[in-house]
Amino acid sequence: MKLLQDIKLMFIRNVQHTLRNPIFMFLSLFQPLLYLFLFMPLLKNLGGTPGLPAGETVEIFIPGLMVMMALFGSAFVGFDLIDDIRSGVIERFLVTPVSRSAILWGRVLRDASVLLLQVILITIVAIPFGLNVKFEYFLISLPLYVMIAITMASMSYAFALMYKTEDALAPTINTITLPVSLLSGILLPLTLAPLWLQNLAKVNPFSYAVNASRALFTGNVGGPDILIGFVIVFLLMSIMFYWSIQELRKIEE
């Protein structure tokens, strides 16, 4: 099928682009590693407080860290797209018969792949720190992070296509990512938070993603958290990707 072929071509092009400068892929691992080495030990001693059972602090913390990586790692990919817009690469693609959506699919799938690689690396590093997660639950959690990455990447691309300048993109992305991450209980479970903060977090779709991620890592798979998290993230991803395609089409208006 033409669309799949186009997506493949665009995906390979973007992967090659990333591989030409692999250092950036690893640089973005630096922050999560710092959290792992310098922040997680603090939590160990907090174990036993509500929402943070002793002996499970690692399984509570790591899934939050995964969501944080998916959120932040993909939030800034729009800068790369602005480069391509400015150098005329996107216009060149648009005058070929290539499918419009493939231009964006090729990018978000690359972003998702980079994130997958990072998630796997962090998981391996976390095992000596006492991470104890069932392998099948870990596998199930991967599509969740992929969808979060695609959501954030699509949003970043949509803003990039809308603004076409870095100056406008940077503050917008920062303004969105910070409250979204603070209100999702990424670093500490929201059960520690006062009630008003917990209620505020309920409007943040990513707090449900964190809940789902934690349910999988701690093995509490009985409740509805996992399904809710997956459904919400899936819907958000669909909306964001659709929006980015609309913004791409607007270039031609």
């Binding site: 092009r13 682009h17 690469v89 216009e91 060149r92 018969p97």
Partner: protein, 328 residues
């Protein structure tokens, strides 16, 4: 395929108005205000005009990149509003920005481009090698495009536009920013493409480029075509050429002036000491007659130069401004 005979592009009252919001206020820019033009198959058509005239906007509409606000376009035999897919397969477009991937090598750029047009891997490789040969890119095709000189980069851009062997190639300012040598080289390449049967539609703000390279020119200013024709037609429309004659002394010049005035009644003559300036129609034809006339009267001119009106004079006549002033 081409139902409208010889025209490869035909636009009727083509308009583009950009609407944007600036600080909440609706802001309209009429970039193209009703362009009617026809481009013949096989010619090099030049769109000449100052910065901001609407050249790029017009080309982006023709290349399917921008939707016209109104008007109709027939291009490579298809209706722009209906057959965009077919049009994309039949035209090449090289934007002002170029559009090559700076991090990839020239070869990689060409391969991806060919694959996007649906060529399989093997065909794409052969195609890339042919283009590298045709545009003489062998010595740098395996380096990242980001390391190319301006002229080399432009060659890659044009090669990318020619990847699928289109019958029509749109070039937006193909030589802007190039040094004279690279510009001359690019002109050669464009002529070579014409010889292969490709129709070229280029934009430029260089008069010399329009004059030397193009078969037909349309001059655009402020979103409107102000005049069109072959370079010669346009310059002839200005009327007079200038013939400058130099004589041994002012005395001789004065006598020569009298004789010339008697014989060339339409000419306007001005004398500057020993030099005569003749404003005369069809200077090419007049020069031999002038020489013969002077000869039979035993005057000999020490120097004679003929200068034709330039496209700048044409631009000046219609707009009251010089195109040169707009150069960056």
């Amino acid at each position: 395929m081409n139902q409208n005979g010889d025209f490869i592009i035909e636009t009727t009252d083509l308009k583009k108005t950009f609407v944007s919001k600036v600080k909440g206020k609706r802001n309209e820019v009429e970039a193209v205000k009703g362009v009617n033009l026809t481009v013949n198959k096989g010619e090099i058509f030049g769109f000449l005009g100052p910065n901001g005239a609407g050249k790029s906007t017009t080309q982006k509409m023709l290349s399917t990149l921008l939707t016209p606000t109104s008007g109709t376009v027939k291009i490579v035999g298809y209706d722009l509003s209906k057959n965009q897919e077919e049009i994309r397969k039949n035209i090449g477009y090289v934007s002002q920005a170029g559009g090559s991937d700076q991090a990839a090598t020239g070869y990689q750029n060409l391969i991806l481009q060919a694959r996007l047009y649906g060529l399989d891997e093997k065909t794409a490789e052969n195609n890339a090698k042919d283009l590298i040969k045709h545009f003489q890119m062998d010595s740098f095709a395996d380096r990242p495009a980001g390391t190319y000189s301006g002229g080399q980069l432009r060659r890659l851009d044009v090669a990318l536009g020619m990847t699928h062997n289109p019958q029509l190639l749109l070039l937006d300012e193909p030589t802007t920013g190039l040094d004279p040598q690279s510009r001359a080289y690019m002109w050669g390449q464009i002529k070579k493409l014409k010889e292969k049967g490709v129709t070229i539609f280029l934009t430029t703000h260089y008069m010399e480029e329009a004059d030397k390279l193009c078969d037909t020119i349309a001059i655009i200013d402020n979103g409107t075509i102000i005049t069109k024709g072959t370079p010669t037609e346009l310059k002839n429309s200005i009327g007079a050429d200038t013939v400058v004659l130099g004589f041994a002394s002012d005395d001789v010049a004065e006598k020569a002036e009298k004789i010339l005035l008697k014989n060339f009644v339409d000419a306007k003559i001005q004398r500057e000491i020993n030099i005569l300036h003749l404003q005369i129609k069809n200077g090419d034809g007049a020069v031999p007659n002038i020489l013969r006339l002077l000869d039979t009267n035993n005057f000999s001119a020490q120097s004679i130069t003929l200068s034709k009106p330039s496209l700048d004079d044409v631009f000046l006549k219609y707009t009251g401004r010089s195109l040169r002033e707009d150069k960056e």
